[in-house]
Amino acid sequence: MIPKRISAIKFEVLSPQEIRRMSVGKIITPETYDDDGFPIEAGLMDPRLGVIDPGLRCKTCGGKAGECPGHFGHIELVAPVIHVGYAKLIAKILNAICRECGRILLKDEKRDKFIEEIEKRKKLGQDYEDVVKEVFRITKAVKKCPHCGEEQIEIKFEKPTFYYEGEHRLTPRDVRERLEKIPNEDVLAFGMDYKAVRPEWMVITVLPVPPVTVRPSIILESGQRSEDDLTHKLVDIIRINQRFMENKEAGAPQLILEDLWELLQYHVTTYLDNEVSGIPPARHRSGRPLKTLAQRLKGKEGRFRGSLSGKRVNFSARTVISPDPNLSINEVGVPQVIAEELTVPLFVTEKNIEIAREFVLRTEHPKANYVIRDDGKRIRVLDANREEIADMLEPGWIVERQLMDGDIVLFNRQPSLHRMSIMAHYVRVLPYKTFRLNPAVCPPYNADFDGDEMNLHVPQSLEAQAEAKVLMAVQEHILSPRFGGPIIGGIHDHISGLYLLTRGIKKFTKEEVMSILKPLSIEELPEPKEDGYWTGKQIFSCILPDITIEFKAEICQGCEECKKEKCEYDAYVIIRNGELISGTIDEKAVGAFKGIIIDEITRKYGNEEAKKFIDDMTQLAIRAIMNAGFSFGIDDEDIPEEAINQIREVIANAEREVERLIEAYKEGNLEPMPGRSLEETLEMRIMRELGKARDQAGKIAGRFLGMDNSAVIMAVSGARGSMLNLTQMAACIGQQSVRGERIKRGYTYTNRTLSHFKPGDLGAKARGFVKSSYKEGLSPIEYFFHAMGGREGLVDTAVRTSQSGYLQRRLINALQDLKVEYDGTVREQTSGMLVQFRYGEDGIDAMKSFRGKAVDVKRIVAEVLNKE
């Protein structure tokens, strides 16, 4: 069979004739089923509209449920009603045509010019919206018809479906009559093709009734039938339509008829869109607003975003994640219960039929859940039929065996913003109910363990499994295409651990060395360096492959002239032939994002070796930190009385200085900074003064805490937190700000932030300076200002995430079918349009670059020199 392809889609408005033509019958009764539960003829569940009950056949096409696509019916409305979706456009057209003769309010030559322009743009595939807009703009201003001379009255549109000509309200019938009068040639000037859209078709006279397959009824557990929201709404429409007709035939007073007409308009409007502004949404008996046509399409859960762009899949699992440092970075711990539910297909051949049979016969974990026969029939493997199936098994069948150790799976954490959000891991079936992963792969997923959940998918074909292993495995993503450096590496305790292990010269007994190196497969210990003792640097060297590099560590103080290996902070790392000679291992060496050692190993020995290094490094670091002992508590922020006094003095001095500045400002002695007003100058100088005071307070606290303090260790090694965090905990929180300024909002009238300050007080206290530390606690006033600053931060993040999410979606949609061709050009896949003549101008694969640079000359030189 030749596959059929859709070459184009054209949207048109259905004409009443078309609606009647495609209808299989007129629907006239609001009743759906009779007392025996059979659908009523000419009712909303008319059997000609299609079948949903299995076993029955369609009265129109004879198909069974699933085969019959369903068929439309129709309702003849007693009086026309406006289609809400076109209400705005109708208003524009009404203002563009003559109220008398129905001609467009333009001279023919002028009209033809516009039509010509529209045709030209259509041909070029360009937007012609602005031409049409111009037509409406010009015609609206015309006061007198150029064709018949009739005076024009402006028509006011009132949401959702009302039109007023002066005081006089136009009924939908009036509207329709006017639209009918527009000649075809004039319609073209509105950017419409009169064969596809006649303006009067936007006023509904015949309503299509969608097939039952679109609005199936469901049978509740109680045996009661529950109808779809659309059916409910259609019942309303038919009921009002009927009442309207009866009243009209009985010659009811005009007022009652108008009320009914309006009611019919309401029901048709809410049937099309139940979230129209200006009218109350139609509700279910329970008070829940009905989900009508527009609601089925719109929004995240709508047909487009919910059903077409995103779908739910089989062979997937989701649960909470938790850390397991004993797993390799390319493994994932899968709970037993999940492993027993998910399956991998085993395609039975002559060669593996015995293995397949064994799976079928097993009664415990890696057993077969289903068998698919060569005719495609799926059979559940049960105790009862296990042996029978094993006997029948033959090549061509598929055995769906349970997930087991060594299987490859895709692991994902939302929001999937970059390619590292979905990576392939090897399965390790484990007890308990969480997915387990090595904490070193948290950075690419941006995961933590405060309740995060992740998804897991099992590739179902050999091709998919091979691609996952080769292209998507975790180790293939150690270097990130985002910045050309490692994105997987040590975090938190890995860094603290190695810092404690390698800082200075630490001595370890053989026993300690053995216990630290136990989880690693190291066969030979080096000779002890320090008379019978091993140094921490020696232990770390055990996991290093043969590399030679030099760099400044994270803890480098940035001395004016680096003393290199003689650095008194032990901050200059030298690794020669796989041996750590000097320096401390910290974030700069092994951290995610920075990790120079990981970078070097990946480039020199490849991903597999880098993976092994990260595995060993994390294991070693955790043993090292446990050997040293590491904890952190509230009294780690205790500073002596002396320090507290010093900090108080620094802050008191700053406050005095602020007062002095304010005094100078008031007396007019303040010198304005270039390009700044006096007020700005004052603000800036106060901010600077208080900022300086906080930094000084932090320095004092840092000095008294010392380098052995856990928080200081974590901050300087880059493991977690910063010196600023520490300052705020131990010394002084500092200035709170809203929109980058000191806090000035509050009682605008008296110009003060809170009622117990003097009007116009510019002092530190009155403008949100918090002199307490977190440990001391904040005064109520400080707390209030802190909450103001904190709120701004929260709002910012909330706004940023939603905005960047939208931007991301649009970028992905715009770029999804661009591809780098073999000749290095970037082309659009369907049209073959050239987008870039060389990928990214320079043709560089960012993932293979050196932190964004195509070549690293220094590295090449160092490598060459080293070889000689």
């Binding site: 050009t825 082309r827 349009m833 050239l834 003549f837 060389r838 101008e841 320079d842």
Partner: protein, 68 residues
């Protein structure tokens, strides 16, 4: 220089370019004939212009546009 170097390709050059890229004229990026630089170099509708830009990453980067 505020605008990078633009030059009109000769007929032979244009043909060679399209041949080596294996594309039709219309698949190139476009530049309007009314663009000031197009007027400046006298490019006419249907011409192909070669643009040589300074690039911080690639040194020199070359692009082509079809005049429309």
């Amino acid at each position: 220089m505020l605008v990078p170097k633009h030059e009109v390709l000769s007929k032979e050059e244009a043909e060679e370019l399209l041949r080596s890229l294996g594309i039709k004229k219309e698949q190139l990026p476009k530049i309007k004939a009314t663009d000031p630089i197009a007027k400046e170099i006298g490019a006419k509708v249907g011409d192909i212009v070669k643009i040589t830009r300074e690039s911080p990453t690639a040194g020199k980067s070359i692009a082509y546009r079809l005049v429309i």
